[in-house]
């Protein structure tokens, strides 16, 4: 057997020992973190959200609003003096990382509850970890799958809207008003698919004509080839189902291409943060849905109270749609703890199921079979003039009142009635 012997590691000859000691300091750092034990008696709420990545701005707003709910709970005396604490973790918008972080929250931090997530896949990953361990998880991100019997457990709650509700509300508003010929431009992943499915379902009631669905990969930077094809279909309505940066770019380009002159653009979800990032012109006249807009404070005392508390805590800033979900998700759990008088899981579940609440956007409650929050959906239009302040970006066109008939039925989701 011939083996070739080589001279190894010659490059490192001149390295100093100091570099090794720097490495030793790094290696030692986990010990220090291990010693940082939190107080025993606090009620801990794990909060995994994508602080870094494309949804970072929304996630940081979720944290701010979640902290507000915790602060209010503590200021009101907590649970007989027992204070709450938000344990925030970055899930990096990755389901594997989210599952690991949730394991950390449950096994090491010993959290009592988990609230959070901002992606369909991520919330399903968190849900799978928590339901196996009997920990209540209140999801604050959109997904249709989480309501279905396969993923649901009695520990699973869903404070956010789901794509079926959102697209349903926008469709019911837009189809009778703007026309029957509809073309779709869709981000090719679960969110886009679920939205289109929702639009087509509600479209049946109005006999809409589906002219075609063009799909684009997530993270597309140029829509100039797709837009003329959509214009050539001559639709009354162009329905664009994408989110974040994709939505900003496509609306900018659609404005430049003059699409808006003859076609009404609708989107299932208009994000406050995206609208602010892309500017007034790109979003001008686009109609879409959302779960919360600060401007409904004239209508609901709870919204006014939430806005004022948020302004006070964060130097006059106003909460965004996803921020409000962070508040709602944490506050419902803490209120249920108060009602139950304990953090015991089963009693808190019973309290949550019985909860009729109005904390930030009008009346809401959790449906018994799938723990979906039955709530209003706002149909909004982006505006470009008469803005009172930098957060005054939308006009509320109509409100779909909370009703179980706008949700998929318990039987359709596979739940036994």
């Amino acid at each position: 057997m011939t083996k070739k012997v080589t001279e190894g590691g010659a490059v490192s000859r001149r390295r100093l020992l100091t570099t090794a000691s720097a490495g030793a300091v790094l290696a030692a750092s986990p010990f220090r973190i291990n010693l940082l034990q939190a107080e025993e008696a606090t009620i801990k709420i794990g909060f995994p959200v994508p602080l870094t990545g494309p949804y970072g701005a929304e996630a940081q707003d979720q944290v701010r609003a979640g902290q507000l709910a915790v602060a209010q709970f503590n200021d009101a005396g907590g649970l007989n003096g027992r204070k709450a604490e938000l344990v925030v973790r970055d899930d990096k918008l990755n389901p594997g990382e989210a599952a690991t972080r949730t394991l950390e929250l449950v096994e090491k931090e010993k959290v009592n509850f988990v609230v959070g997530s901002l992606s369909a896949a991520v919330q399903l990953a968190i849900n799978n970890v928590t339901k196996e361990r009997g920990i209540i998880f209140n999801s604050i991100s959109q997904s249709d799958a989480i309501n279905e019997a396969a993923d649901f457990s009695k520990y699973t709650f869903h404070e956010a809207l789901n794509p079926h509700m959102t697209s349903g509300a926008v469709g019911r508003y837009a189809f009778p008003k703007f026309g029957k010929k509809v073309a779709f431009l869709t981000a090719d992943y679960a969110y886009g698919h679920e939205m289109v499915r929702g639009f087509l379902e509600v479209g049946k009631e109005f006999n809409i004509e589906n002219l075609g669905d063009i799909r684009h990969p997530l993270g597309t930077t140029d829509f100039s080839i797709l837009l003329p094809r959509l214009q050539a279909l001559k639709p009354d309505i162009l329905c664009i189902s994408n989110f974040g940066r994709d939505q900003q770019i496509v609306l900018k380009q659609a404005t430049d291409f003059g699409v808006k002159k003859s076609i009404q653009i609708i989107a299932p979800l208009l994000s406050h943060a995206s609208r602010v990032a892309a500017g007034a012109q790109a979003f001008d006249g686009v109609v879409g849905g959302c779960s919360f807009y600060w401007g409904i404070e004239d209508k609901f005392a709870s919204t006014k109270a939430f806005n004022d508390a948020f302004r006070k805590m964060y130097d006059g800033k106003l909460p965004t749609d996803y921020g409000a979900l962070g508040y709602g998700g944490v506050r419902t759990v803490l209120e249920a703890v108060k009602i139950a008088g304990t953090v015991e899981t089963d009693k808190v579940i019973t309290a949550l199921e019985a909860l009729k609440y109005d904390y930030y956007k009008g009346p809401q409650y959790y449906r018994k079979c799938d723990h979906q929050s039955v709530q209003s959906v706002l149909v909004i239009k982006s505006k470009s003039k008469d803005m009172k302040n930098e957060s005054d970006v939308f006009e509320v066109l109509s409100t779909e009142e909370p009703s179980e008939k706008n949700l998929r039925s318990c039987e359709a989701l596979g739940h036994k009635s």
Binding site: G9, V11, L26, P30, N34, P95, E104
Partner: protein, 328 residues
């Protein structure tokens, strides 16, 4: 360079004695280190992740460090192992050990399929072909929504208890889960050590060092490469299966090319072509990422700076540089 070649070198003196001892018992030492490892980690789930990524990098290192081929498609081997293990449990309700076997088989099979096509190429071409093929695997699993959950990932890989010779072990208990997974990783260490110490292991390195000469000596270079790649697939498939059991989900991101890039990073950081390097690389990488991201949202900036420092001060990887210095 690798311990396998170094071990036959005549190095007199007491200073080198420990090194020979360590090389001879490398798998045993690795096993000991793994057994005490969770005590020094911030949390157990992270320790398990390090084991799994370390195993993944160990398998990758067989091809990258010992055979000298840079693969950019190893995510396919890890991901197929994870998905097959998950599908076996979710759709067929197989027992856990059979599901792990399915994962290992998945890794071997996909490595064979990719290997047959890619193995004749070298250098950058090998990297490109493996990457392209792993993207095909990504879309295959992405489109098979009924089996894999597609975008939403595969959920429901729930193992509550492990039945071991009539003994009911609570798999949800973090420390138990760690040691169950550690048992598989330690076994993999011993197998890897055996492969490297065997005549076949010497052929692998002979092919890396001088392909012409290996061929002239009568070895089948192509077959050696293919076999090494397939073996690597077995280790990565096992890592994938263990991850599926650990996280109870398989996200589609596991097949993304970033997962392929990650393992290159881990292997380089730890020291390519060294036995312990991949595990150390995985530990340093994941611990850094986890600690700094708790501390600040700008963790990428800090972790990036530390990596630059590592490349500057540990050119042969952390473990590779330490070995070279220690032996002097």
């Amino acid at each position: 360079m690798s311990e396998a070649t170094e071990s036959i070198r005549q190095s007199p003196g007491a200073a080198a004695g420990w090194y020979e001892f360590a090389t001879k018992h490398r798998a045993g030492i690795a096993a000991l280190a793994i057994l005490i490892f969770p005590l020094v980690m911030p949390f157990t789930a992270l320790a398990v992740n390090i084991l799994i990524y370390g195993l993944y990098a160990l398998g990758f290192n067989l091809v990258f460090g010992y055979l000298g081929l840079l693969s950019f498609g190893h995510a396919a081997l890890l991901g197929t192992g994870a998905y097959l293990c998950g599908i076996a449990i979710v759709h067929f309700a197989w027992p856990w050990y059979a599901a792990i076997a399915a994962g290992v088989f998945g890794g071997l099979l996909i490595a064979l399929l990719i290997g047959v096509i890619a193995i004749r190429t070298r250098g950058i071409y090998f990297a490109m072909v493996t990457m392209a093929l792993s993207q095909c695997v990504y879309y295959l699993f992405y489109q098979a929504v009924d089996w894999t959950g597609g975008e939403n990932g595969l959920r429901g890989i729930n193992i509550r208890t492990i039945d071991l010779f009539g003994l009911q072990i609570d798999f949800l208990e973090p420390i138990v889960r760690y040691y169950v997974i550690a048992a598989f990783v330690i076994a993999a260490f011993f197998v890897m050590s055996r492969i490297l110490a065997s005549p076949f292991g010497a052929v692998i390195e002979a092919v890396r060092e001088n392909e012409m000469r290996a061929r002239a000596s009568g070895y089948d270079v192509i077959l050696t490469r293919l076999l090494t790649f397939v073996l690597s697939g077995g280790f990565c498939g096992l890592a994938g299966a263990l991850q599926a059991l650990h996280l109870s989900i398989v996200p589609i991101e596991i097949l993304h090319y970033e997962t392929s890039g990650l393992v290159v990073m881990i292997a380089l950081l730890g020291g390519m072509g060294t036995f312990f390097g991949p595990m150390i690389g995985a530990a340093v990488f994941l611990v850094l990422e986890n600690l700094v991201s708790v501390w600040t949202v700008h963790w990428q900036l800090i972790v990036g700076a530390i990596f630059i420092a590592c490349v500057l001060f540990f050119p042969a990887g952390i473990w590779g540089t330490l070995i070279a210095r220690g032996r002097r």
